[in-house]
Symmetry: C2
């Protein structure tokens, strides 16, 4: 039996509801003000390359925390958390293929697993909304549109692939504010990587995103493009690892950290 | 006899050369690293309205210092300075008409004159160049192109008029950096007021600026528009004051303040 979403006001309450099987849905809009994170779990032998990949590509892969092998508690993000149970839903990958979407991964846990918690754009979207800027896909109740670009990430070991970006359109004055606001949050993708000319990113049709859902860009608006947390998932799939676990799309780890704690100024 | 420009490495040396009549030229590129300022001198009876105008329009009119009536030394900007002699060249206005361009205004000084020192874009241009961004008009050896817009400043008393903007074109990634860098400098116009769509500002032809000189905007570049220090001069002319003094275009007050001291972070 699912819990009432409106009762999930803190990171702790979301994690508790997940852990007890009472919540298995998407976390967008839950625990307002608390930072959410993307999750990637790899075997220790793959983790070193992936750590290097994240450090070479901080805009798509801003690391909030990396656990020691076997440790399932990212203590900086939430001291009492358990990554095996505290997300609503996971994806289990073998040889780059999705094989299972469980709500608990305790049965898969091993002492050689390393967990990567990666910043999520929900944090900067909250700051944009707080500043009074309209965020199109949220206003329309859609998932943000995301696009594979013709820009390649810096490769590291077995990991390589294209940069994936998310797109949000703004009027020019709001676009300037959006650059300023998101620049304060390098831990959650930071400033846009591009604005204005999708073709410069190899994007031929904004109406056909590779992930998420299309949103209209009105005349007189600029499309702004941010590095996206889907990049590491695309890179993982391409690497065809024997074994990996990620969060299920939209089903993030909700931390005890306040969004504003991730601002640099 | 004019002094060698390359010897004018500090605000103090520029002011000394002006005071002794050895320098009467434009100050762009002089005393690298020292903040320069626009100058407006008004009679005390007009000064209160103008102060309000500046405070209502901080982007075109960022006030660095306002002197007391009769005081010709803006001590926060340069303790030993004398506004009657320390600029290369001045403009004297009567009933909104330019009547004289002297290199010294000692003969015009009165005890009821109030001086306004207003931030100048040279400071943020130095920061853009320091960050490796190409500034088109500087690279081409031209004056920055400036345009009257269809946006009105907030009026105050006798002062009103259109916002004047300067334009600098950038590639998208550089445009994002330019927003970030100039946001650090609210005391010198700060972040752009617009980017991308000149027609939204009532600008019909970028090739025909109202002041300065046109520069090309290449395909794939965004035109960025900043509030401009020419705005107060346009507003002064429109107010047709009995008496006003300003700096002559490009002949700024060079302060002892370092550019970086005007950054907020």
């Amino acid at each position: 039996m699912n819990v009432d979403r409106s009762s999930l006001k803190t990171g702790s309450s979301v994690r508790q509801a997940c852990r007890t099987g009472k919540f298995t849905g998407q976390t967008s809009g839950l625990a307002s003000g608390f930072a959410q994170a993307n999750l990637v779990i790899l075997r220790e032998r793959d983790a070193s390359d992936f750590l290097q990949f994240c450090q070479k590509n901080p805009k798509p892969c801003p690391l909030l925390e990396v656990t020691k092998a076997g440790d399932f508690c990212p203590a900086k993000l939430a001291t009492d958390s358990d990554l095996r149970t505290d997300l609503p839903r996971y994806r289990v990958w073998k040889q780059g293929t999705l094989i299972e979407e469980p709500t608990d991964i305790s049965h898969l846990w091993r002492d050689d697993l390393v967990s990567f918690l990666i910043g999520c754009s929900f944090t900067f979207e909250a700051a944009l909304i707080e500043a009074g800027l309209p965020v199109r896909h949220i206003d329309l109740g859609l998932n943000v549109p995301m696009y594979r670009t013709s820009l390649n990430c810096e490769p590291a070991g077995i990991f390589s692939g294209p940069l994936v970006v998310s797109m949000r359109p703004f009027k020019p004055a709001d676009a300037i504010r959006a650059v300023q606001i998101t620049s304060r949050f390098p831990a959650v993708h930071g400033a846009p990587v591009h604005m204005g000319f999708p073709e410069q990113l190899g994007i031929t049709n904004l109406a056909q995103p590779d992930f998420g859902e299309a949103v209209p860009v009105e005349p007189g608006e600029l499309p702004l493009f941010w590095a996206c947390g889907v990049t590491p998932q695309a890179v993982l799939m391409q690497a065809k690892l024997d074994f990996a676990i990620t969060h299920s799309p939209g089903c993030m780890f909700v931390s005890d950290l306040k969004d504003e704690a991730l601002a640099i100024s």
